[in-house]
């Protein structure tokens, strides 16, 4: 492994540590299938080539994640920490709902906190490590096919070292009535920790499922999640995907969600970031068939020094599909938002309708947002639009509400809740929506 390290210049200690970890993993894990081993080897080679993004990397220029990781994590910190004693987990889990609950603590599946309610003929849920053994056909067909380790170093890193996560397979023609709630909890009570879960969700033709990935922190020390999820939305399937981030102020997060849609399918994504240290979400959507519909909603409601960076990419490869994207941000204190939305409309994707909008409210002079919509269109018969706005609370609206007897604080809270509701109303799992609304209300009561 030392040859690798010598050949790189300006390599950070954290990158070196991850490469060593990956290298060791390649050499010692021979139990899994040859296919998975091959995927890991390729990812490792890509990671060596790419390196973790440095300060000059255009895709990460507002989110200096490598620098932050290098500062806060020593080589001995990058493994999953011991967490058998984790307390306070049950209160993080949504109650009052019939749902499949799957809990990971520091990357390890926790049987104790998990509970499956859907029958196996409706949905197959297992850990990814089990699926490597028992669903080899599906793994060989789908695993690592959509998450691109050639261009994103964190996807490459995850692919090279990931051992476990969730595997979901919804057979043809099934509507899964109970949502699947997957909790990824970082427990830093004992020590700093890094976990790299990996998920694969395959939704077959004409099926429907609600998925939630929810990120939380227990403990006060630094933690880091590097997660990758691949979602395969087959013909006429409907997938409602949610990513919820309610993490501690010293946690770091890089997440890559790769979605591929085939004909006449519907994919909805809602990403809500409420707290954390530094969060980077990449949501990549490939629309590889006609007559697909996709909605991507995002809300980042930030305070203190939280940084949330949402990079989305929609790739329209075929004709007659529709995508709509709405990301909204409320930045308080010294928090920082980043939004980058790429929309590609390929030459064959005629009659595409693609819309994108990013709206931000800054509550203080120290809060900031960097927003960049990017449309690249090669087809000539399409309807596309994008726009970004950044501002303060509308003074006219504020005055109007005050003249009806609401004080400034109440009026501000009402306006911000309304601003956020455009996104939150797209969460169709009611108890989840209510929990988020409550968190946001409490935040508004506290801060304003």
């Amino acid at each position: 492994m030392s040859q690798i390290i010598i050949s790189k210049q300006h390599q950070t200690a954290i990158e070196e540590a991850f490469l060593q970890q990956a290298d060791l993993f390649q050499k010692t894990s021979h139990s899994t299938s040859p296919y998975v081993q091959k995927v890991r080897r390729e990812a490792f080679a890509n990671l060596e080539k790419l390196g973790l993004p440095g300060n000059k990397n255009e895709e990460y220029k507002y989110t200096r994640i490598t620098r932050a990781l290098n500062k806060h994590f020593a080589p001995e910190n990058i493994k999953p920490a011991y967490a058998e004693n984790a307390i306070g987990i049950s209160q993080l889990i949504l109650s009052g709902i019939e749902a499949n609950i799957l809990v990971f603590v520091n990357g390890k599946f926790s049987q104790q906190h998990s509970n499956m309610v859907s029958p196996p003929q409706e949905i197959i849920i297992s850990t990814l490590s089990e699926a490597f053994e028992s669903h080899t056909n599906l793994i060989e067909r789908y695993y690592g096919k959509y998450a691109d380790s050639k261009t994103d170093a964190f996807t490459a890193l995850n692919t090279a070292v990931a051992e476990d996560g969730i595997f979901i397979y919804v057979p043809q023609g099934k509507v899964v009535s109970a949502p699947v709630l997957i909790y990824f909890i970082t427990d830093t009570t004992e020590e700093k920790t890094v976990s790299q879960p990996r998920n694969l969700y395959i939704i077959e033709e004409n099926s429907q499922v609600d998925l939630v990935e929810s990120f939380h922190t227990v403990g006060e020390q630094e933690g880091y999640h590097n997660i990758v999820s691949e979602i395969v939305v087959n013909k006429q399937a409907v997938v409602n995907y949610h990513k919820i981030e309610i993490e501690g102020k010293d946690t770091y997060h890089t997440g890559n969600t790769h979605v591929v849609q085939t004909a006449e399918s519907l994919f909805n994504a809602v990403t809500v970031s409420v707290s954390g240290g530094m969060i980077r979400n990449n949501l990549n959507l490939v629309i590889d068939a006609e007559n697909c519909e996709s909605h991507m909603y995002g809300l980042y409601m930030l305070d203190q020094e939280t940084l949330v960076d949402n990079h989305t990419m929609v790739d329209h490869r075929k004709a007659n599909s529709f995508s709509n994207e709405l990301y909204k941000g409320i930045m308080d204190d010294k928090s920082k938002g980043v939004f980058n939305g790429k929309v590609y409309v390929r030459p064959d994707a005629q009659k595409t309708n693609a819309f994108q909008s990013n709206k931000n409210i800054l509550l203080t002079d120290d809060a900031s947002i960097d927003t960049k919509p990017q449309l690249e269109i090669w087809a000539d018969d399409v309807k596309c639009s994008h726009g970004a706005t950044t501002g303060q609370i509308d003074a006219e609206q504020l005055f109007y509400l005050q003249t009806r007897g609401l004080d400034k604080r109440q009026a501000t809270a009402l306006l911000l809740k309304a601003f956020a509701s455009d996104v939150l109303q797209n969460i169709r799992i009611q108890p989840l929506r209510e929990v988020l609304e409550k968190i946001i209300s409490q935040r508004l009561q506290k801060d304003l």
Binding site: F399, T403, G405, D407, L414
Partner: protein, 253 residues
Amino acid sequence: MLTIENLHAKVESKDILKGINLNVKPGEVHAIMGPNGSGKSTLASVLAGREDFEVTEGSVEYLGNDLLDMNPAERAREGIFLAFQYPVEIPGVSTTNFLKTALNQIRKHQGLDPLDAVSFLKQMKEKMQLVEIDQSLLSRALNEGFSGGEKKRNEIFQMAMLEPKLAILDETDSGLDIDALRIVANGVNKLRTSENATIVVTHYQRLLDYIVPDYVHVLYDGRIVKSGTKELALELEEKGYDWIKETANAATI
């Protein structure tokens, strides 16, 4: 109820109000008329507490208190209501939801318990009839996508719900067709009691056919240059504002 003395106000560095005197008693309807740019809407805004305007001189006493010392919400809770010339659209907030919050704030200020859902809905139903407004409109986001007439009716509906002591209608007639005007005026008239007062700000006499004022004041260049009874409004309608301007300008010189 309301005593305005020598009120001066400016926006940025421009003087708009240059010494307004006005006295309004419970049960009275005062019409403030005047040509465009005379300061009518500014007066309405200053009374409601809009921060863009700076009061540089004079005083406003309302129910024995210094009105200028109160913020907009306190004024509203003390019974002042401004019906906006251009009601603001507020996406994501339904009229019903917001009115419930507003009404309960005002009730709290008056030492009353908040209205429960049933009583609130009952009161809403009654007041809806007053301005012939539809339930579906009230479930929608406040004023968003409403027609001009719907917005104005919604203003009067809110006024009916909040039961102010002093209502200020800022050009409520602008942009209304005659049927909508009649509905709005009818609503205002039904809300009149011997306890509350109304200030109607308008450019045209037409509205005053329906909301009959006790007093008419003509505002020009930041001052009330002429006061009279409802006959003054008819005279203005007939002769236009030019003779007022000439008289006022001559007096200043």
